[in-house]
């Protein structure tokens, strides 16, 4: 497949690995401690495990898996709200597939579906709108989940619904923003990160300028990366070059998709439909200011939070949960006492075990062939 297969080329991988090894040998810091590179995005975590990239890198490089997985950071209280809406008579609750297994305080959406709620998996918010058109006697709610990558899609769907005068469609908005998350991580005292591999698809919407503060203020390099394994390796190489050369800049490895200025039409739709919430709760990370969006007053009739009464309770994680520490990269998944024992993909206690991008689930299922050797 074009634009995919070329970026999975084994020979080019070997070239990069050689360069990476050469660079690591020239970085003095690497002799004292591992070089900690955080890859923020769940999609990068997935790629790294799916292709076994970690095992290809020299041991001096530590890939830290960050909180860029919107399914993973979904608080239990919000899942409870989803279930409450879904269980109402006459509601068709539509959602992306991977959100269905996240546990709420009583049940997940998957369990609510088994109990009889009309919950349907969709690939796109447009499909949810189509369900609304086809079921005029029902209320269709779309679970809007995701970072800035997905915000425009939900927004454009709301705008389309408005154009058509659809009245039985609404969005339960859980869109979150990446920059406050990155700030929270950079401010965290437990962290010792040297560089970042930046979220490629968030950036195709917001551009690369929003990350400048990471280089200017915190003096850490960041390379915005594509998702194919060659993209990730190349980004690691670019980050190491900056570390060796002793400077910190925001670079764009994913230039074939990410325009420096972002996407105008997407940003306009987002600006039109949403406004920032004062604060939003993130599972494992607590409350972060200005990290979530909600629908503007003008679109109140498409806002499920206003249409339906939801419990809106803050539900604490089980006390033993270390999701927050893992999300920030402070500890590795296997260092959590519940990993693999009480918390497994079959019986997930925390969201990091539920989503296939959550680092705990990824480690458990895909390996960490290196990690398991380390843990042993």
């Amino acid at each position: 497949m074009k634009y995919i297969d070329e970026y999975r080329d084994r020979d080019k991988a070997a070239i990069l690995v050689k360069e990476i090894e050469a660079l690591v040998a020239e970085i003095p810091l690497a002799k004292e401690r591992p070089i900690n590179i955080m890859e923020v995005c769940g999609g990068h975590t997935h790629s790294i495990f799916r292709y076994g990239i970690e095992g290809m890198l020299p041991k001096e490089i530590e890939l830290v898996h960050g909180p860029g997985c919107p399914v993973c950071v979904l608080p239990m209280g919000r899942v409870d709200d989803c279930v409450a809406i879904a269980e109402r008579r006459g509601v068709i609750f539509t959602t992306f597939g991977d959100a269905m297994r996240v546990p709420g305080s009583k049940k997940s959406l998957m369990q609510a579906k088994a109990d009889g709620a009309d919950i349907r998996m969709v690939y796109s918010p447009m499909d949810a709108l189509e369900i609304a058109r086809k079921n005029l006697d029902r209320e269709v709610v779309f679970f809007g989940l995701g970072f800035e990558t997905t915000m425009p899609s939900t927004a454009l769907t709301v705008l389309q619904a408005e154009r058509e005068g659809v009245t039985n469609f609404s969005v339960f908005c859980n869109h979150i923003t990446i920059v406050p998350t990155l700030k929270a991580i950079l401010e965290s005292p437990d962290l010792n990160l040297d560089a970042f591999i930046g979220p490629g698809h968030v950036s195709m919407v917001i551009g690369t300028a929003p990350y400048e503060f990471i280089a200017r203020f915190y003096k850490k390099p960041m390379v915005v990366s594509g998702f194919e394994p060659l993209d990730v390796l190349q980004s690691v190489w670019m980050v190491l070059k900056q570390i060796k050369e002793g400077h910190a800049d925001i670079e764009n490895q994913y230039a074939r998709v990410v325009p420096e200025e972002g996407n105008k039409a997407a940003l306009e739709a987002v600006e039109k439909v949403y406004e920032l919430r004062d604060f939003f709760e993130w599972r494992g990370l607590g409350s972060i200011d200005h990290s979530g969006v909600k629908l503007r007053e003008a679109y109140a009739h498409f806002d499920a939070e206003r249409k339906f009464a939801v419990p809106n309770l803050q539900v604490a994680d089980p006390a033993a949960c270390q999701c927050g520490a893992v999300l920030k990269g402070v500890i590795k998944p296997w260092q959590c006492p519940l990993f693999g024992t009480a918390c497994t993909p079959e019986t997930p206690l925390g969201a990091l075990m539920v989503s296939s991008e959550g680092s705990c689930s990824a480690y458990y299922q895909y390996g960490g062939v290196k990690a398991q050797a380390g843990a042993a």
Binding site: M1, R10, A14, G42, G55, G146, P229, E346
Partner: protein, 355 residues
């Protein structure tokens, strides 16, 4: 084979209404008409014709075909009932035939029990029964006994079929997942994931247009050819629900070995790859209905491959990996990129991801 010859041919009953009603499950004349019209008409064979409560066979005749009886059952609840490449009927026959075939058995007779939701169209039932008859004929098996139930609306999803099959295992043929040994070769007979992709596409909830068809087929001809060329084959498994990844994990666990496969040798159709890329699915876990995984001693691997490739259902066969010493039960894959990943057991259902 039948020790009770049927006295005289009789006229078959017919159903004159378009949809199935509870009356058709009542045990009376309406039910006889349904059975005659739909099933007897389609399956028509000497063992079935008497319509006794059981089909009867001469044991000695079966014993001439092998020294062990293979006996298997499977239920089919696929949705949609009809999909590109087949329907629930074809699936019900091929699935059970294949379960016998991977035990090294020659499939002989099938039973067919159906549970029909009231309101199902008679024409659809006739179509499915004909499909079963055709699949049985192609596979050289007979459907000799069955059961019919009709349930009220909502009690089942349109149609559920259970087929049970018996076959005879030839003397000297011993297959078992636990028999895999380090050094053995792992083979598959062609493109993986077609059935799973076809079904997901046909369900429509993801609104994806695809030409992929189910690979549903009876494999005993292929397994016969394989076993003739590689008589010391250790294990054969039908890679159905849960895909190739699941059967490899089962084999590794049962034999307490490690298995490693090579992504570059694992055949997957371009379109199925595209399908999986869009939805974020892993093709190794998609269901197949015409694919087996075979574990073969290294000295017989080439012969096994040639024999499978020569068969119409094995044109795309490939040696995909090896059984090794290592962590017992561990399945890994050398990725196209050169790294290594673990191929674990599936947890729950594979869900499309947005991340």
């Amino acid at each position: 084979m039948n020790i009770m010859p049927f006295p005289r041919p009789r006229r078959l009953g017919k159903v004159n209404v378009p949809t199935v009603t509870l009356a058709h499950g009542g045990g009376g004349k309406a039910m006889k008409d349904l059975i005659d019209d739909v099933f007897v008409e389609a399956f028509d064979n000497a063992a079935l014709a008497p319509l006794e409560d059981q089909a009867r066979f001469d044991l000695a005749a079966i014993a001439e075909l092998g020294d062990r009886l293979a006996f298997t059952t499977d239920s089919f609840v696929v949705d949609p009932l009809v999909f590109p490449g087949g329907d629930i009927g074809k699936l019900a026959v091929c699935g059970t035939v294949n379960d016998l075939a991977v035990g090294g058995a020659r499939p002989l007779y099938l039973s067919c029990a159906v549970i029909i939701e009231e309101g199902v169209a008679l024409d659809l039932l006739r179509q499915i029964a004909r499909s079963m008859a055709e699949a049985a004929k192609d596979a050289g098996v007979q459907i000799v006994t069955g059961d019919t139930k009709v349930v009220h609306k909502g009690a089942c999803d349109k149609l559920f079929i259970t087929t049970t099959g018996i076959g005879a295992i030839r003397e000297g043929v011993t297959l078992g997942a636990h028999l895999a040994r380090p050094g053995d070769a792992v083979l598959v007979n062609g493109l993986l994931g077609d059935h799973g992709a076809a079904i997901l596409g046909a369900r429509g909830d993801m609104a994806l247009e695809t030409q992929v068809e189910s690979d549903c087929a009876a494999l005993h001809g292929l397994t016969d050819a394989l076993l003739a060329a590689a008589p010391n084959t250790r294990a054969l498994r039908d890679a159905t629900r849960g895909g190739l990844a699941t059967v490899l994990n089962e084999i590794a666990a049962a034999s307490e070995t490690a298995i490693e496969i090579d992504e570059t040798q694992t055949p997957i159709r371009e379109e199925v790859k595209g399908f999986c890329e869009i939805l974020g699915l892993d093709p190794l876990y998609l269901a197949n209905e015409g694919k087996i995984a075979a574990v073969v001693p290294p000295e017989e691997a080439e012969a096994a491959l040639s024999a499978m490739q020569a068969h119409p259902l094995g044109a795309g066969s490939s040696i995909i990996g090896t059984v090794n010493e290592g962590e017992a039960g561990r399945v890994t894959m050398k990725t196209v990129f050169g790294g290594r990943r673990i191929v674990d057991m599936l947890v729950g259902e594979q869900l499309p991801r947005i991340c």
